[in-house]
Amino acid sequence: MQGNTSPPGESGLYNRIAVLRAERGISRQALADAVGVNYQTIGFLERGDYGPSLKLAFQITAYFALPVEAIFSTEPFKLLSEQLYGKNGAQSVQEDGQGSKDTR
């Protein structure tokens, strides 16, 4: 999964709903109830099979208290490690991960 995002699927839109949900321990049903949709719709959004309306997108961003560009994008999101540590930092994180695998 590139940059911890859902692939664009049919919607052509990348999003981070699955990551944010997992990070905050929220079930699909809880999120669906909060924004007034079916839990299946959250699943379709996460898989990128459905592009939300502006209203739903803003409801989701309000629920997570994040700006809309933090959750939805037409371009793939950068890796979170790359955003936090820069490109070299992300590479070293990946190499560390590879190194720890090799030493096993």
Binding site: S27, R28, Q29, G36, V37, N38, Y39, Q40, T41, G43, F44, R47, D49, Y50, P52, S53, K55, L56
Partner: protein
């Protein structure tokens, strides 16, 4: 759309698209077999019409799309949520309801069984659009056949008798009307069941 077909005590997992496609194939296959048999046994088409009318209504038990109140057949409901679910919910929240409103929009059960979110509405509209086109083709076919039936002098010799079908023109038109009725009751739901991707089971 529900992920489980609940038929009284029998519950069938319908989250995988393959299962839903099987359901559609079995329903239309059964209808085709029954109607063929009916037309072979009864040339007036009365039996086939009886089957078509009742099949169109009974199929709702499996595929849904209509709402008959929470007590209908012990609460049996089809897979597709009622197409007019939001309108039913809105009507049921009114304080004063007319006799006809109570008759046609009976008491609701779980509001979540009725409410259509934005994606459901978008999919509903799409399925009706596709169904409408197919129904339009059927009507067009009926029109063409009936046109030649009423203007027999214009009819090509090969079409003057539909003997290869073993049916008269009137019978063919009656058959098309029967299929049209069933499609008008079931095709949008069938398109939804056929096209919706695999879903997650309920949580």
């Amino acid at each position: 759309m529900k992920t489980e077909l609940n038929l009284l005590v029998i519950k069938i997992d319908m989250a995988p698209r393959t299962n839903r496609r099987w359901l559609v194939a079995i329903l239309y296959g059964t209808l085709a077999a029954l109607m063929t048999l009916a037309w072979m046994r009864n040339r007036t088409g009365t039996a086939a019409a009886f089957i078509a009318i009742n099949f169109g209504l009974a199929a709702n038990l499996f595929i849904g799309g209509q709402y008959h109140g929470k007590y209908f057949l012990f609460g049996s409901r089809g897979l597709v949520d009622p197409f007019d679910g939001n309108e039913i919910l809105e009507r049921n929240t009114r304080k004063k309801r007319s006799f006809f409103s109570r008759l046609f929009y009976p008491e609701i059960g779980d509001p979540r069984d009725l409410s259509n979110d934005e994606r459901a509405i978008r999919r509903r509209d799409y399925s009706h659009f596709i169904a409408f086109r197919h129904l339009g083709s059927l009507v067009c076919l009926g029109l063409i056949i009936d046109f030649y039936n009423l203007n027999r002098d214009l009819m090509p010799a090969s079409l003057s008798s539909l003997s290869h079908l073993g049916m008269s023109v009137d019978q063919v038109i009656f058959c098309i009307l029967q299929v049209g009725w069933v499609f008008s009751c079931t095709l949008p739901q069938a398109i939804l069941l056929w096209t919706e991707p695999d879903m997650e089971a309920s949580q």
